[in-house]
């Protein structure tokens, strides 16, 4: 009997190291790479915000004098040469001092501590829903490729991927809060407040996870070891759950990891604004509108760090799912 086809990554082994040492070294190397990425992101956001905004003008009333402008600029340290500003900024980042928000006049770390858990809660719930819903739909569609059911589910997935989330959010509010009165329109506080923003955030992700799962499952269900399992008379559910699904966990993990990152670093901004969900996405929009450079820099830095950690977790998960995969 031929060995079953399995997706395997074969990164180079570290010379002279084996087992746990190799693993730790690999994780360490990933972390260093990640920190380089974070440093690059922090530099880019520093440069872009300094080039495109004038927070001093934004904070002053329309009839402020040049004297007031100069005073506030000096107070904020924005009259210093850019290189000096960057030096202070980089030094502060190393100490995890993200500065004080111009707009809210509070330490950015405090604001992140207040708001980030709300975003993580929403993103985790949405990603969990995407995982369960997407895998179920993808597997269902893959069992009879080309059938009416498959075509309907695939069209639905296409629709889900295409719907803009701000529009979806407004429609969900209109139907479930305004017309049916089942759920609140916005805000935080109870589990009911979570339902609509979670759906709005999860729906495109469900579609993408379903598409990926479907594709991977169709390929897997066509392999010889699955055909042998059929021939042996094993139940379909057993074949799918015990054999096929295990072998597609890697691509599913990849897409779910991507969705988690995408939600955290992008989609949550829109959904949180529509639903007045008090997370960092909403805070980001306000920071952009108010040209609060410090807050924006802090948020981007925190998100970049989180994304690096998430990617590392996904990489480690690969090795757990399939022991043949090395970091």
């Amino acid at each position: 009997m031929a060995a079953p086809a399995v997706l395997v990554r074969r990164p180079p082994r570290l010379r002279g190291l084996t087992g746990r040492s190799a693993r730790s070294a690999a994780i360490g190397r990933r972390l260093v790479h990640g920190l380089i990425v974070v440093a690059a992101v922090a530099t880019v956001v520093f440069v872009v915000t300094r080039m495109t905004s004038d927070p001093v003008r934004r904070m002053l009333p329309i009839d402020a004098t040049q004297e007031q402008y100069d005073e506030l600029q000096a107070q904020l340290g924005l009259d210093r040469p850019l290189v000096e500003q960057f030096g202070s900024y980089a030094g502060d980042l190393v100490r995890f001092d993200l500065g004080t928000s111009y707009w809210l006049n509070r330490p950015v770390t405090d604001l992140l501590a207040d708001r980030l858990p709300q975003t993580l809660l929403l993103v985790t719930a949405a990603t969990g829903l995407a995982l369960v819903g997407g895998v179920l739909l993808g597997v269902t569609a893959s069992l009879r490729p080309g059938s009416k059911r498959d075509r309907v589910l695939s069209a639905g997935a296409m629709l889900g991927v295409s719907i803009p989330q701000f529009w979806l959010g407004s429609v969900l509010i209109l139907v479930f809060a305004v017309n049916l009165g089942w759920l609140p329109t916005s805000g935080t506080g109870t589990w009911k407040h979570m339902v609509l923003p979670t759906i709005a955030l999860a729906l495109p992700s469900i579609a993408r996870v379903a598409q990926t799962t479907r594709g991977a499952m169709i390929e897997e269900l066509g392999t010889s070891h699955i055909k042998v399992a059929h021939a042996k008379g094993l139940p379909l559910g057993y074949i799918v759950g015990r054999h096929a699904l295990r072998n597609v966990l890697v691509p599913i993990t990849t897409i779910v990891g991507y969705e988690l990152t995408y939600s955290l670093a992008g989609a949550a901004v829109i959904v949180e604004t529509v639903f007045a969900w008090q997370g960092i996405g909403y805070l980001t929009i306000q920071a952009v509108r108010r040209q609060d450079l410090v807050l924006l820099q802090g948020i981007v830095f925190a998100i970049a760090l989180l994304v690096v950690v998430l990617n590392l977790v996904v990489d480690v998960l690969y090795t757990v799912i399939d022991k043949r995969i090395d970091l």
Binding site: S53, D54, R57, R58, M59, L60, P61, I62, D63, A64, T65, Q68, E71, L72, Q75, W103, L104, N105, D114, R115, F166, W167, S170, V171, I173, L174, V175, A177, V178, N179, L180, G181, W182, L183, P184, T185, S186, G187, T188, G189, T190, K192, H193, I270, T273, V274, F275, A276, Q278, Y282, L283, I285, Q286, V288, R289, Q291
Partner: protein
């Protein structure tokens, strides 16, 4: 005349900014409604047994989804306040509820300055000193009596350069002196006839309470019961308030950044009042409330540093080319907007020239002037906005059409809020050729707008004219009275003849309200006086 938008050839700008204070997405709402019909139809078919629950709007709707008939009044704000410190900056969200907690020496209602904590309006004792007497029966919410020391403390705090207040009034005061327990002398750095107006925005707190602004203590009709940053603030009646008890004991201010969501919250019965709604939403809300007088004026700001608007005939042509009444008829109504007289700022405020009328709509005259100036086909960039104010995208497109019909060649760029801020403060020669802007009134006077737009050193100025500069400086130097008004009249008339601006229309404050409240706003748009809200019986 109703104008239809010709969108061909118009270049759009950055995408709409979410959550603008007067933002709207009419095409989004049409798609929203269409999509909602499809979704709702599907759900009705799929959930045949769910209709009974949906009839009871108070069941299964979350803790506060539907407002009980006798519960707190809920207001929606477009964002969270910067802080609870009333001296720090001009923050309209903060003033929405904090102005019910704190009071000032004077107040502004329908463009008129009135005493509030003062027994009468401050009197000028010299060119740079004023004396103000304070009421002797005012008590703060902590039970302490308000006296001159509290006034001195508050005004000194705001004007202290080390404190760094970003309020425009911060530089208006150079010193204070306690004359007696209920009299304060206020010094100004130079002659400032508008000090009584400016005092209306400077809030009084107990001496020493600047270090604990997160637990505000004020003399107003309400006090802060709770504040959940980013979510909501709750204010309740202050039992120490000396005035008439407001009918509403408790007001909840919810921070909802997205304009569409605010309207939906009103439709769902979760909020009672939504300030700054768009006329597009009138048919969606239970009730529309407007302020008695206009609160914001929209205008076009030409740049006279270079062609085409360096020629007065071209600027006059700009004014004649705009059909103001047509814009009002198309987008608003005569109940909500008026054509702006030829002066900046809102009508009926202090220092206005009551004889100035709007430029009439006369496209033939506009073309004649352009021909005379050799400027037919003169091209320029028109910096409009999108998502910044009510129906701005559509209005800007119509204005561009009108200008093209008169003989201009217009390149329309639609800017979101962030770019608009950059454009409004882009002054002098490098400023926009033509910018769509707006001004409100927080000091019951045109002076701020005049200084900002008419002086070459103004914070939002792209206009330079030596004679106008002279007239502005002369007018601003007069104390309140007939001489000042005469100087303002002369200056405003000259500016109108020179077409330094093209004022368009002035809009009233527009509020969406539930059927259970009655409300007559008289304050500026930055201070809607929530204590005036009443519950409607039945």
């Amino acid at each position: 005349m109703v104008w239809a938008i010709d969108a061909s050839g118009r270049r759009g700008g950055p995408a709409d900014s979410p959550g603008g204070s007067m933002s709207n997405r009419p095409s989004t709402r049409r798609r929203t409604r269409g999509g909602a019909l499809v979704l709702a139809g599907t759900l009705l078919i799929a959930a045949c047994g769910g209709g009974d629950d949906a009839d009871d709007s108070s069941a299964d709707t979350g803790t506060d989804a539907a407002v009980a008939p006798s519960g707190p009044v809920v207001i929606s704000a477009s964002g969270e306040p910067e802080s609870l410190d009333p001296h720090r900056s001009s923050d309209p969200t903060q003033s929405l509820f904090m102005w019910e907690i704190y009071e000032s020496l004077t107040s502004i209602e329908n463009g008129e300055v009135l005493p509030l904590l003062a027994t009468e309006l401050p009197t000028m004792t010299s060119d740079t000193t004023w004396e103000v007497s304070i009421l002797d029966d005012v008590v703060f919410s902590d039970g302490s009596a308000l006296d001159a020391a509290d006034v001195k403390y508050s005004l000194d705090r705001i004007s202290n350069p080390d404190y760094g207040s970003a309020r425009p009034e911060a530089k208006a005061i150079s010193g204070t002196r306690v004359v007696d327990d209920h009299t304060v002398e206020i010094s100004t750095p130079k002659l400032d006839p508008l000090l009584p107006n400016k005092l209306g925005n400077l809030k009084i707190m107990p001496e020493g309470k600047g270090d604990s602004v997160d637990e505000p203590v004020g003399s107003g009709p309400y006090m802060l019961e709770s504040y959940d940053p980013g979510s909501q603030a709750v204010i309740v009646f202050n039992p120490e308030f000396r005035g008439e008890k407001p009918q509403v004991d408790e007001i909840v201010v919810k921070f909802i950044p997205d304009a569409e969501t605010r309207i939906q919250a009103l439709e769902a019965g979760e909020v009672d009042l939504v300030p700054n709604i768009s006329p597009d939403d009138f048919d969606r809300v239970p009730k529309v409330i407007t302020s008695e007088l206009p609160v914001v004026t929209f205008l076009l700001r030409p740049n006279n540093y270079h062609p085409p608007f360096d020629d007065v005939r071209v600027r006059q042509a700009l004014n004649y080319a705009i059909d103001r009444e047509g814009i009002i008829e198309t987008f608003f109504s005569e109940d909500t907007a008026v054509a702006s007289p030829c002066q900046p700022g809102v009508p009926h405020t202090g220092d206005t020239n009551d004889d100035l009328e709007p430029y009439p709509y006369d496209p033939d005259k506009a073309r004649e002037l352009l021909e005379e100036a050799g400027a037919v086909g003169a091209s320029f960039t028109f910096d409009g906005t999108t998502g910044v104010s009510a129906l701005d995208r559509e209005i800007n497109q119509v204005i561009a059409q009108q200008l093209e019909e008169a003989g201009f060649k217009v390149e329309l760029v639609l800017n979101d809020y962030t770019n608009y801020i950059e454009r409004i403060y882009g002054t002098g020669e490098s400023g926009s050729d033509l910018l769509y802007a707006f001004s409100t009134d927080s000091q019951a006077s045109l002076e701020r707008e005049v200084m900002a737009y008419y002086l070459p050193t103004g914070a939002a100025s792209t206009f330079s004219d030596d004679r106008l500069t002279e007239l502005v400086q002369a007018a601003a130097g007069h104390p309140q009275g007939e001489e000042r008004q005469a100087a303002y009249d002369e200056m405003l008339e000259y500016a109108c003849d020179e077409a330094a601006l093209a004022t368009l229309f002035s809009l009233k404050g527009l509020y969406g309200a539930s059927d259970r409240i009655a409300y007559e706003p008289t304050g500026p748009v930055t201070a809607p006086q929530l204590s005036r809200i009443e519950l409607v019986e039945g």
